[in-house]
Amino acid sequence: MAVAQGLFSVEKIPSVPGLSCLFCSGIHRAVLGYICIMHSIPKHCLFPLGDEALLLDFGNVLDEQVHARLMQVFHWLKKQKPLGVCDIIPAYNSIALAFDPRSLFNTSVMEKGLALLEQAWQSTSDTTQEMITEPIRIPVCYDPTLAPDLISLADSCGLDTDAVISLHCSVTYQVYMNGFLPGFAYMGTVPQAIAQPRHPTPRKMVPRGSVGIAGVQTGIYPLDSPGGWQLIGRTPVALFDADASEPCLLQPGQKVQFYPINLSAFEAWT
């Protein structure tokens, strides 16, 4: 098994798309655990994204605890609404701050960004309790007429479709980040037995509400869109409503559970 080559280096892992996060050696666990109790931000984890944004990046191995720590920073910053910050973007193992250039007049993106992140990090260091959130329960119809990849995915996994559905519904997923489309939540972690890579060539049209798998990630398309994920079901629930006060149902940090509904329930859903 590969050995970590330095405190935050990237472990050499088989490059099966989406499976990298599973191969987390004991050494890496200790390292990632250390991040959570660190007193201040390690400067070599800070990267400018041009001269108007900054990224705090903890590397390439996914860890729930590190993500939870980043979410604390995210929530603290969102609440503080620091002047000049126009966006705060959490992801799997990172958080980015985007600045209004006018607020950088007398300072630099690294200076201002580091100061804010440092403040957020230290202000949240005592928050030992993870924010308990009720999982959002999302109904999914796993009928093959709505799920063009369900049968082929089951075949590839050597399972029957009932087992696939059961496994997909067996986990409480974490929303790690949103991206790609308004309200598209990247959720993990899909059970290994059904973690199939995305299609090499994306479909030109994936209908809104389609539930997909890409490696250990699962997600729901909030809009009709091109897409390459393995489509195993469809939800009648709206993931995105532009006119609502909260336009996106799913946001980073939330927990999600899926439960199966049949075709008639799907069609009757209001």
Partner: protein, 330 residues
């Protein structure tokens, strides 16, 4: 016929949208900011009409639209150099404050140099937007507008002057001359380039046909990292230079998605984004790494110049209107 103060799209251009600085504050939800490709042109056009710098403008590509004005208006065009005709007769200048009388049609006839032309109107356009912005994202255009034939867009402040139609107010703004040197802040993948790739990345790249508001695909030397890994997705920005598995580069532009999973060679400095925005398929460019200090200095110089311009023109417009004009606010 509706004669409330507005512009009417008599002829559709290939891509004309309403844009401002962008829809910020929601990227954590996956809502992409969009916004103008060329911020300097937006500032200049707004400065020339006495508008606040980030007032929404119409971003036009070539072939351009034909636009009819139902009321007297004070307008400005900035960005690309183009042939713009007043009532299909005389050309009106770019980078000037121009008076347009009610009933006039402007034809954006031909692009001469550059890819994007911006139209600002004094007082701005009547648009309520979405989430505090009128920008138009390709993937979900709510809050913005994609203009087609017969579309109508209200204007807020008809401005009448005691001057002939097409009169260019007596001040000049120098056209901006951009070089083909695109400077960038190195990203994580830059440190990982092989020695050979480190040399080759400063060679000439050409913007391919597969380029638009979302991103420019570059044709050029193939770049390779010493080690490649499957990356976890993270936030990207306007100007992020991604290194694809094929060894080719793609520069994310205004309509970029909020996150990406490809290695980042670096990120174009904000001062060079307007130059990049005016490049199109076939344009050649060279990439040059610079540090944050240089990027900041260049951005501040640009901002300073724009602010001086704004102040100078504002003063002149107020004086001119006092003497020659009248405005009614909607």
């Amino acid at each position: 016929m509706d004669l409330s103060p507005a512009i009417h799209f008599i002829r559709k251009g290939i891509l004309d949208t309403l844009q401002d600085r962008g829809r910020y504050g929601y990227q954590h939800l996956g809502i992409a900011p969009a916004g103008v490709m060329d911020r300097v042109a937006m500032h200049m056009a707004n400065a020339l009409t006495g508008n606040p710098p980030t007032t929404a403008v119409i971003e036009m590509h070539f072939p351009g639209p034909a636009i009819r004005f139902t009321s007297d208006s004070l307008i400005a065009l900035s960005g690309a150099d183009a042939l713009v005709l007043l009532n299909k007769q005389e050309p009106i200048p770019i980078n000037r404050t121009v008076y347009i009388q009610a009933g006039t049609t402007l034809h954006i006839e031909k692009g001469l140099n550059g890819q994007r032309l911006y139209l600002a109107i004094r007082g701005g356009f009547d648009s309520s937007g979405w989430l505090n912005s009128c920008s138009t994202a390709q993937v979900f255009p709510k809050g913005g507008r994609v203009f087609v034939k017969n579309d109508v867009l209200g204007i807020n402040t008809p401005t009448s002057l005691n001057q002939p139609n097409g009169f260019a107010l007596p001040w000049f703004v120098p056209a901006v001359n951009y070089s083909n040197k695109i400077r960038f802040i190195p990203g994580q993948a830059y440190q990982q380039l092989t020695a050979d790739s480190l040399e080759r990345h400063s060679e000439t790249f050409t913007i391919s046909n597969n380029s638009n508001r979302m991103g420019y695909r570059l044709n050029g030397p193939s770049l390779v990292q010493r080690e490649t890994h499957e990356l976890l997705s993270s936030a990207v920005v306007f100007g992020t230079i991604q290194l694809l598995p094929s060894g080719q580069l793609i520069i994310l532009m205004a309509d970029h998605q909020t996150t990406g999973g490809y290695p980042c060679l670096g990120h174009v400095i904000s001062a060079d984004l307007p130059a990049l925005a005016q490049m199109g398929a076939g344009t050649q460019l060279k990439l040059e790494p610079v540090d944050l200090l240089a990027a900041k200095r260049l951005r501040r110089e640009q901002e300073k110049d724009l602010t001086l311009l704004e102040n100078a023109i504002n003063f002149r417009i107020e004086a001119f209107l006092k003497r020659y004009g009248s405005e009614t606010t909607n």
